[in-house]
Amino acid sequence: MSTVKFNAVNKTYGKVTVVPGLNLEIPEGSFTVLVGPSGCGKSTVLRMIAGLESVSSGQITIGGEDVTHKEPADRGIAMVFQSYALYPHMTVEENIGFGLTLKKTPKAEKARIVKEASEILQLDALLKRKPKDLSGGQRQRVAIGRAIVRNPKVFLFDEPLSNLDASLRGQMRVEIAELHKKIGATMVYVTHDQVEAMTMADQIVALRAGEIEQVGTPMDLYNTPANPFVAGFIGSPKMNLIEGEFAKRHGCEVYGIRAEHIDLDEQQGEWQGVLSYAENLGSDTISHVMVEGMGSLTVRSEGSVFIKPGQTVYLTPRKELVHKFSGDKRI
């Protein structure tokens, strides 16, 4: 029983409303990712679940129990901070077992629980080290270890990977996803990185300015984005969103087509344009093409493309994969 529910939750700082009337259900055992640009209120939502931020009005329940005004420690949650929040004067062992120390757990039992957690996270060899002698990824694992030891119903992660370099981030993504499979607890994960959202989530909540733009599986958001914001936010490279005369001619306000859903040809096609430059990534190529009346379009083609900038190219959209929006809604 660890479904997290928001009932009309409101959060204001003075006169500024950061989260206006949020209604959301995070199913038990799910890996839910809150995604959105910086400053949209993701951390605030997460911290309200944790009890680190007060709720201005509305109600939060965990497993059916109203926790709106409960102390953070009494909510059955654990949180992993972006800054890791490790105690610099404590060893890895002491950091992981901190909660047990506070509860005066007997030494032998504490050692056993810490050992268990450190084995899951492959920290056994580092138990006697201080945080300053660890790499970023190792620190992250210690922070996760401290969360595991609490044996929580709900794990909260606030941008846990944003301080890591790209390759480590990829590795930790896999590790956290595996951890979720292994322990099966509900996990709420905040990130501004849509790649993390797409790869890890079974439910994505896209937020903008404290309001939910869309909730669904990664594929839902990719295939049927509810509005131009989600369309532009999910997927890399960013979806081409064309407004103005062109969109009007196609009976909408915003005409969207993903870069990977446009075919590029040197001889013929629907739209004629000029190649500005091409990023050759080996497995595929991202071309930026200037088309009159539409602006600059991004096109992704498989393999390498050998066309010189300035050359004329032709583009053809795959009709069934076009997204049309009017009045900020999908049509």
Partner: protein, 359 residues
């Protein structure tokens, strides 16, 4: 290093540092070195005679101590003889310290303190310079009491003031106020507060005890004078150290407190596991600064008691200044300054050693 630019930039840098560094050399480094030199001579402030090198004699004059166990005067039956006021009559000290060939090592010394032994005998410790010894013990006592209380009180205030409460800035200002007022002005004000006739302190104590409290001449009484100066010094300096603690508190990331809150840490656990370890470097700094300031006790004594009554508030710096300028004995004053420097230096080194990073 083939490029000439860094060198010429270096030159400009040194040139810019010249005004400040020459002042530092002139007013800090030169006097510091001179004090060492003078302490090995017989230099006087104004003297027609040439300065002579006298080796360690200034220091042995300061630090020379000796001890003696003496019997009371006894009558025929061996009972001690009593004075008219009921005290036991002991032989006079000067019979040992003035030209007594059996006690040559005590020549010219004065009684510093004594410890009673069994059978009415007593163990007397004598010092070549009893006044210096008094100043030394007073200063050490001052440091030993003021440093921990001031540091602890300052930490308490900093913890109170570090909370997000409306109007907290007003309290920060109030607590910091005594720091920006000159210590001389503060000392003069407190002389009125401690006044025995119509001082504020006596009035308040009298009011709180419904007139039962007997007025005390706080600064005129040898048993209360030093304590009064300590209390005032603690009050005056506490705001400054509060600010240093506060800056230390604010370097502790909020997420460490939040992590503790998630684990259900109680208030004192938060202090013990998060706050105090996070303040370690600040604590070292504060203890070093407070210790040094306390060793430098001067202005309060100079303004409030001038070392009295009966030398109960003598301090090392006060003695150093007294000798150097009022008695024109620059050599003696310098010797005290050198002793003080060595004490402060060794205490700082000990504090640094004890608080070193053990990993």
């Amino acid at each position: 290093m083939t490029d000439g630019k860094p060198k010429s930039q270096n030159k400009v840098g040194w040139l810019m540092a010249l005004p400040a560094s020459s002042l530092i050399i002139l007013f800090l480094i030169v006097p510091f070195l001179l004090a060492f030199w003078f302490s090995f001579t017989n230099q006087r402030l104004v003297s027609p005679n040439p300065t002579e090198f006298v080796g360690w004699s200034n220091f042995s004059d300061l630090m020379g101590v000796g001890s003696l166990t003496i019997d009371p005067k006894r009558d025929a039956e061996g009972k001690p003889v009593y004075k008219a006021n009921g005290d036991i009559q002991y032989p006079r000290m000067r019979t040992f310290t003035r030209n007594n060939p059996d006690y040559e090592h005590l020549q010219g010394m004065r009684e510093w303190f004594s410890i009673p032994l069994s059978n009415d005998r007593k163990w007397v410790v004598l010092a070549k310079d009893a006044l210096f010894m008094k100043a030394l013990t007073n200063t050490l006592l001052f440091v030993a009491i003021v440093a921990p209380i001031q540091a602890g009180l300052a930490l308490l205030l900093a913890l109170l003031i570090n909370q997000k409460l409306p109007g907290i800035n007003l309290f920060r200002t109030i607590y910091f106020m005594p720091v920006v007022i000159s210590i001389v002005v503060v000392s003069i004000l407190w002389r009125f507060i401690y006044d025995g006739e119509n001082g504020l302190l006596n009035a308040i104590l009298g009011f709180l005890s419904f007139g039962l409290f007997e007025p005390v001449d706080w600064l005129g009484n040898p048993s209360t004078a030093l304590g009064s100066i300590m209390a005032m010094s603690i009050w005056q300096g506490v705001g400054f150290h509060m600010i240093i603690w506060l800056s230390g508190l604010q370097t502790i990331p909020g997420s460490l407190y939040e992590a503790a809150a998630l684990e259900g840490a109680k208030r004192w656990q938060v202090f013990r596991y998060v706050t105090w370890p996070g303040l370690r470097n600040t604590a070292v700094l504060i203890m070093v600064v407070i210790t040094m300031q306390a060793f430098a006790l001067f202005a309060q004594v100079d303004v409030m008691t001038r070392g009295g009554p009966v030398d109960s508030t003598q301090s090392l710096v006060f003695q150093s200044v007294q000798r150097g300028y009022e008695k024109q004995d620059i050599a003696g004053g310098s010797a005290i300054a050198v002793v003080l420097f060595l004490m402060v230096l060794s205490i700082s080194l000990i504090q640094r050693y004890m608080s070193r990073d053990r990993s």
